[in-house]
């Protein structure tokens, strides 16, 4: 086929120019001969006398993760003085771009990731190959399965497994389906934490009656609001895989009884949010919560560190968003994955860092600093907030967003987590009724799914 031969010529030309460039620069290709896991003594071993090398880490700007990684890096540099750890931090919105550009330029050694290897391409959802899968299949990440320290991790390694091989380690799990609440305000008003959806509705009505805004949210950034869909799904007793698959096979629809329920609850949330909440940037939401503009803040557990930073004396708690029945636990995702760039020249340095992290003592310090749920057994939790969550985090399940398979090229109504209630009038959008939005969503999904299947 003509296309292939053009491609071959181009590929040959590029390959030749690459060979020339690589041959020209002598720098690449020398591996840092750092020691194997956990054994070098800095002063005497020959490796320590090796030339200085670097360890480049990239991550996003969550203060507690950044702090935790910084401390880990300090310990690392004490142990390996010839390695300089260099960390680049950008805000969450720009992190995917940074990730891609650095990997493409082979300018990074350790890549941290927010989500794990979920949403793997399955045969009932053709066409949607998630990016992490593309990366692994292209050989970008180093396989870690046979590293001696992998066994230290209980859920951490499992979360980073694909096709039976470990490619990344999750260093903590995050609850995302909870609501922060203003403890002082609740005590003053004599309010109880709701345990069912009905109680939650009552609570909001009470707050409104007392002229207190029930909730706030960083709608302008879109994703903080869309995350609340996860919360609602958690409370509806729906089996995610069945639902996600059913959407593709036609057994489940966005506008069937279950789907409409989701929209209904989200509409309730819309109506109990601050006015014009879709124009509040995520970066403003903590100060609004802390200054009492709203009683509750549905958000991910990672915000705990930031709330404390904003106001040390602010008393708050975090409870799972209630569902139809009592006993809804937190759901969330495995987070702060560490993966190694297989093409990097500092691979050994990177593996050493992971080895160090896999040591229970280092990890305990790390996870308490980050404030995530540990993915290693037997870790002593000293972080107060974390300890308060533990009763609800047994068997942390993946939230809805990680099961939904988005068809390639789908229209905006069915993007993100499938349900996009920001288009409803109650959120400031243009669509008046739930039924209308549900129908539009279903149409968008069907069109794209059909196109995907026929490829």
């Amino acid at each position: 086929m003509r296309g292939t031969s053009i491609k071959r010529i181009l590929a040959a030309a590029i390959a030749m120019s690459l060979v020339v460039t690589v041959a020209g620069c002598g720098k690449t290709g020398e591996k840092a001969t750092a020691s194997t896991a956990g054994e070098s003594t800095a002063a005497t071993s020959a490796e320590a006398a090796a030339k200085p090398s670097a360890l480049r880490i990239i991550t996003w700007s969550n203060q507690s993760s950044v702090d935790a990684i910084n401390e880990l890096s300090k310990k690392y540099m004490e142990k390996y003085p010839n390695v300089k750890v260099d960390m680049s931090v950008v805000d969450t919105d720009n992190y995917p771009t940074l990730q891609r550009t650095r990997l493409q330029a082979n300018d990074v050694d350790i890549v941290t990731m927010g989500g794990g290897f979920v949403g793997e391409k399955v045969d009932w959802a053709p066409g949607a190959v998630p990016e992490w899968q593309q990366l692994i299949d292209s050989g970008v990440f180093t396989e870690l399965t046979n590293q001696p320290w992998v066994a230290n991790w209980s859920t951490g390694a499992k979360a980073g497994t694909y096709k039976g091989k470990v490619y990344a380690i999750s260093t903590g799990a995050n609850a995302t389906t909870g609501i922060f609440y203003n403890k002082k305000l609740f005590d003053e008003q004599g309010l109880k934490l709701p345990e069912t959806w009905a109680e939650f509705e009552q609570l909001c009505a009470e707050l409104k009656a007392r002229n207190i805004t029930p909730m706030t949210c960083g709608g302008q950034d879109q994703w903080p609001y869309q995350m609340i869909v996860n919360d609602v799904m958690a409370g509806l007793d729906i089996d995610y895989t069945t639902y996600a698959k059913g959407l593709w096979t036609g057994e489940k629809k966005f506008n069937d009884a279950d789907g409409l329920k989701v929209f209904e609850r989200m509409e309730f949330i819309n109506n109990n949010m601050e006015k014009n909440f879709m124009s509040i940037p995520y970066s403003a939401v903590i100060s609004r919560f802390v200054s009492g503009k709203a009683a509750m803040l549905p958000d991910g557990a990672w915000q705990a560190g930031e709330i404390t930073k904003a106001n040390k004396d602010f008393q708050f708690g975090y409870f799972p968003m209630p569902g139809t029945n009592k006993g809804v636990n937190f759901q969330g995702k495995f987070d702060l994955f560490f993966a190694v760039n297989d093409k990097s020249e500092n691979k050994d340095n990177a593996l050493n860092l992971l080895a160090m992290l896999s040591d229970k003592e280092s990890y305990t310090a790390f996870v308490n600093k980050v404030g995530f749920i540990p993915t290693m057994d037997g870790v002593n939790i000293t972080n107060e907030f974390l300890a308060s969550l533990l009763p609800y985090t047994s068997n942390l399940k993946n939230s809805w967003e990680l099961e939904y398979r988005i068809p390639v090229g789908v229209g905006q109504y069915a993007q993100n987590k499938g349900f996009n209630p920001q288009f409803l009038k109650s959120a400031g959008g243009s669509i008046k009724t739930i039924q209308e939005l549900a129908d539009l969503t279903q149409k968008d999904f069907e069109k794209a799914a059909a196109a995907n299947k026929s490829k």
């Binding site: 296309g3 292939t4 053009i6 491609k7 919105d93 995917p96 771009t97 891609r100 550009t101 990997l103 493409q104 330029a105 082979n106 927010g114 989500g115 949607a128 990016e131 593309q134 990366l135 292209s138 050989g139 970008v140 709608g219 302008q220 950034d221 879109q222 994703w223 006015k275 014009n276 879709m278 124009s279 509040i280 940037p281 403003a284 093409k343 967003e401 988005i406 068809p407 390639v408 090229g409 789908v410 229209g411 905006q412 993007q415 993100n416 400031g428 959008g429 243009s430 968008d444 069109k447 794209a448 196109a451």
Partner: protein, 301 residues
């Protein structure tokens, strides 16, 4: 000029060489590259093999599922461009004429103020507006005086007009300065002749000023159209590219360099390139078409 080449031709060509080389390698070649990429499925994923997929990208945009979003972006692009061009040109022309009046003191001061956004740049302007239009900011309080409130950049209806306002705020000064320069080149005698005839200011403007200024107007309109069709920085910096404000150039950037890992379109640079080519086609049609129209109008004068 005598028919022979006067200077050493080799030297002249040598002088032109660096500019031509740089221009070709880093402007023309990449442009052609965009065209080529639009027929591939190249992505940002490093090391991933890419191949030519013919017209699939275009088919996806026009016929398939997210085609509707693409068409909405296209529609927004037109509205954005036309509104910006017309309002901005009218405004800058008006201010240029006013600020050339001899009786206005401190003319330079006013001109400088209006030109200030060009000097400040997109980043500063965007932050300035984010602050001004923040949920507790002055704009909100002003609206509250009238009993209204708005979501501004997050508002479903008003984000788009707001962004158009920001774009005009940013570029009107530049256009105005070009008009001022053009106005100052019109010789005085022409005005004196007309004053004798007793025509008032409005007639003066239409019959004398505008025709003399016409080449400048044409240049400005072209620049404005092209600029507004491809400008997305202010949109990116104020709203981050929400669907209500997503013009085509904003869409291209989002798709090419990705925002959000779960977005199925993120990083698909082949698709982004196809969008860019479509956008370019429209720019071409509009620019050529408007030039043709303007020439016709000018010819009839």
């Amino acid at each position: 000029m005598t028919g022979k080449f006067l200077f050493n031709k080799k030297m002249i060509l040598l002088g032109m060489l660096p500019g031509l080389l740089l221009y070709f390698c880093f402007f023309v070649a990449p442009s052609i590259g965009t065209f080529i990429f639009s027929f591939t499925d190249i992505t940002q994923v490093p090391g991933k093999a890419w191949s030519f997929i013919g017209l699939n990208n275009y088919k996806e945009l026009i016929f398939l599922s997210n085609g509707r979003d693409f068409l909405e972006a296209l529609e927004k692009t037109f509205v954005f461009s036309i509104s910006t061009t017309i309002i901005q040109t009218a405004f800058s022309l008006f201010m240029a004429v006013i600020l050339c009046r001899k009786f206005v003191n401190y003319r330079n001061l006013y001109r400088t103020v209006i030109f200030m956004p060009t000097i400040l740049g997109v980043t500063v302007t965007a932050f300035c507006f984010q602050l001004f239009f923040s949920i507790d900011g002055p704009a909100q309080k002003l609206l509250n005086l009238f009993g209204a409130s708005s979501g501004f950049f997050g508002d479903y209806q008003w984000a788009f007009p707001l962004v158009i306002f920001c774009q005009i705020w940013m570029s009107a000064g530049y256009e105005m300065v070009i008009f001022i320069a053009g106005l100052q080149n019109i010789p005085e005698d022409i005005y004196e002749a007309s004053n004798i005839d007793g025509s008032n200011e409005w007639q003066t403007f239409w019959k004398i000023t505008l025709p003399m200024l016409w080449p400048t107007v044409m240049v400005n309109l072209s620049l404005c159209i092209i600029g507004s069709l491809s400008a997305f920085q202010i949109i990116l910096m104020t709203t981050g590219g929400t669907p209500q404000t997503r013009t085509l150039s904003m869409f291209v950037y989002q798709v090419a360099f990705g925002m959000g890992t779960l977005d199925p379109n993120a990083g698909k640079q082949g698709l982004a390139a196809a969008m860019q080519i479509i956008l370019f086609t429209f720019i071409l049609i509009i620019t050529v078409g408007s030039r043709y129209l303007m020439n016709k109008v000018n010819g009839e004068d």
